[in-house]
Each structure stands twice: as structure tokens, then as C-alpha cells.
Symmetry: C2
Subunit: 207 residues, 2 copies
């Protein structure tokens, strides 16, 4: 019997490096599936339908909302972003742990609907490093940096809703730590009741 | 600043091999401290005061109870067993994770008093293996084996009170898994609030 996979939501400050951590995690271990979001925004240079995003028209997206085909969605800067249900449920059923990289609002929608979702928050080791990483990209105006910083302040307010707070100081260590946390989660009593009940039933037979 | 250690209670079926797992864990990693119980029972051949147990008279033990010097205690077969508070709190304060190997009744006393205690339950992979391990020692009468089995049935009823259910199929894998679970527990949001609040305060300064 295949054990059901765990739904894992990963959030983190812009500049936390969470995207790189997740890509590396997926490439090292084959028990993970990375969910791909649907969006109504236009593809950017180099983005591919079905790889970065599923690109949808507004009509298509609203039809998905109406049919409850998304497990969470949100609107940013006049574009929809959401997580298609089919892929997530199919992969969980196959026993794979499904990873969603989403913002806190979506994370809370999912936790409400799937209470056994594991919520991870990834952070740089301190605020100065966070600021340096945001500035260090060298591609954004100070305005954009300031707006990211103020979003970081808001995001930081929601961390208590998460299960684990993980520092991304060293990429390799962080990837291993995330993998260990998810693997450990499979040992949680509430996720092992089937096995526990089998052992209980067997023990009674021996008496 | 030294991070506070985690209090870890390990229980498991007789024959689960939990004692061996803990000894191996302590010998591999130096961030753990194994708590030593106090008892009023007589030392057995080869047992040493301060190594296997702190051997106490009934009067001494009852004085410890009266002075609240034990974080849990119980009476089995007319002898007291308990966990001295001093050592546990001293080691936690030094940032070491303190491991107590105790029965479920004691585990629940401790969880009530220290709600952030991590409770681990160790089990053989299935009931047949458990029975084989109990019988396999070859040193006990069938009566003793039967009584252990029926205690196992009782213990199994309490597993929902624990956080993690860990299978001891392979000693090495089990030791590493326990280590990862405890290490992961340090990343729990509720145990990282000091760091989270520092980052929050720093972020606000940058705005």
C-alpha cells in the first residue's frame, strides 16, 4: 500500500533564496513533485507554458475558480495566480510529497482546506543579509527594494502561522534540512495511524 | 546567546530496542544529555550509582517528592522511580537536548508540566517482530513474555499522545532518524520566536 504524500507549502521573504532551495531539493530527491501555478499574466521572455506557469486567459481562470479546480488563488497587480487541484491530488495519491511555493495568503487558504499541510517559512539569517540580497541583485530601483522590504515586514507578521522557520545561510545545508523536516513529518503520529492500528490489532491477536 | 535545549521523552514497547538506540545516539552526538532516574529499588549486579540509576532510600525519595525535586515519578512493584529536576533543567539551560527514557504515565506527567516536550514512541516494524524480540531474549518465562505483551497492548493505546512514531528496523537508520527529528524540532516556529522577533525588529529599522 502506497503511503499518501504530504502537501508542503513553502513561503519566504523575497531574497530568501527559496526558489533555488526548492529547485535543488527536487533535483536531489525523486519523492517530491513541484506544483506549477496557473496565472493570467503574460509569459516573460524564456518562460514556457507548463514549466514556469500554466498561462491562462482571464475567462479560463475564472472558469477554474467557478469549478473549484484551484486549491487556492489570489490576485496581484490585476493578475490571477492559483494552484490547480488535479495535479496536487494526483501526486499526493501516488505517495509523492507535493511542494507549493506560494505567498502567505494562499498558504492560509490551503491550511484551512487541508489542515495537515506542512507550512515552511524560509528566511535569510538576518535582516541585514535580507537587505543585501535584495539590493545585491543590482537590477531593481530603490523604490522596488523599499516596497519589497515593506512587504517583508508584512510577511514577517504572519510567520506564527507556519510550522517551521528555516534559515537559508548555506544552500546545501538548507536543502538537506528541508528534506529532513519533510521526511520527519512522515513519522508524525497523526500520519502513522494506519500502521499504529495494524500493530495494535496484531498485538491483540497474540494475547 | 545559548539556545535552550529541548526536553525529549522516549518511550516504546519493551523489545523495541529503544535503550540501544538512545545509547548510540548519545555516543554519536554531543548535544544530547541522557537523564538518569532515581529509584528506591536495590542495585542489580553491575549497576552503579549515578550511571544506571541514583539509588535512594524510600525516605530520601519521599523527601524529593515533597520538595518537588522530581519532574515525574511513579511506583512500580512497590518501588519508586523518578526523574530528578536539577540535572534536567541545568542541561536544558546549557542548550543541550535532554533525553528521558520513561513510560507513558511519566511522559504524560512531563508533557502536562512542560508542554513543549517532544514525545517520541519507538516501535519494532510489526507485532510479529515485537513478539520475536521479546521471546528471542531467551531469558524470560512465557509468563513474563505474556505479561509484556499485554503491557504492550496497553502502551499501544496511548500512542496518540506522542508526537512521532518511529520504527526501529535498522539500528543505524533509527538513530539517524531520531537525531534528525530532534534537530528539526529546533526549527519549529514556536521555538524560534526570539530569532523571528529580532528579524522583525531589524526589518522595521530599514523601512
Amino acid at each position: 500500500m502506497e503511503k499518501k504524500g504530504i502537501l508542503v507549502v513553502v513561503s519566504g521573504f523575497s531574497g530568501s533564496g527559496k526558489g533555488t532551495v526548492m529547485k535543488e531539493l527536487i533535483s536531489r530527491y525523486d519523492n517530491y513533485a513541484l506544483s506549477i501555478s496557473a496565472t493570467t499574466r503574460s509569459p516573460r521572455e524564456g518562460e514556457e507554458h507548463g514549466r514556469e506557469y500554466f498561462f491562462k486567459t482571464r475567462e479560463e481562470f475564472e472558469k477554474m475558480i467557478a469549478e473549484d479546480a484551484l486549491i487556492e488563488y489570489a490576485c496581484y497587480v490585476n493578475n490571477y495566480y492559483g494552484t490547480p487541484r488535479d495535479y496536487v491530488e494526483e501526486q499526493l495519491g501516488l505517495g509523492r510529497d507535493v511542494i507549493l511555493e506560494i505567498e502567505i495568503q494562499g498558504a492560509l487558504q490551503i491550511k484551512k482546506r487541508y489542515p495537515d499541510t506542512l507550512l515552511l517559512f524560509i528566511s535569510p539569517p538576518d535582516a541585514q543579509t535580507l537587505k543585501n540580497r535584495l539590493v545585491g541583485r543590482g537590477t531593481e530601483s530603490m523604490d522596488v527594494i523599499e516596497s519589497r522590504l515593506s512587504r517583508a515586514v508584512e510577511e514577517a507578521e504572519g510567520i506564527e502561522n507556519y510550522d517551521y522557520f528555516i534559515i537559508n545561510d548555506d544552500l546545501n545545508a538548507c536543502v538537506e534540512e528541508v528534506n529532513e523536516l519533510i521526511r520527519g513529518e512522515h513519522r508524525r503520529v497523526s500520519r502513522s495511524l494506519e500502521l499504529i492500528n495494524e500493530i495494535r490489532a496484531d498485538l491483540k491477536k497474540f494475547q
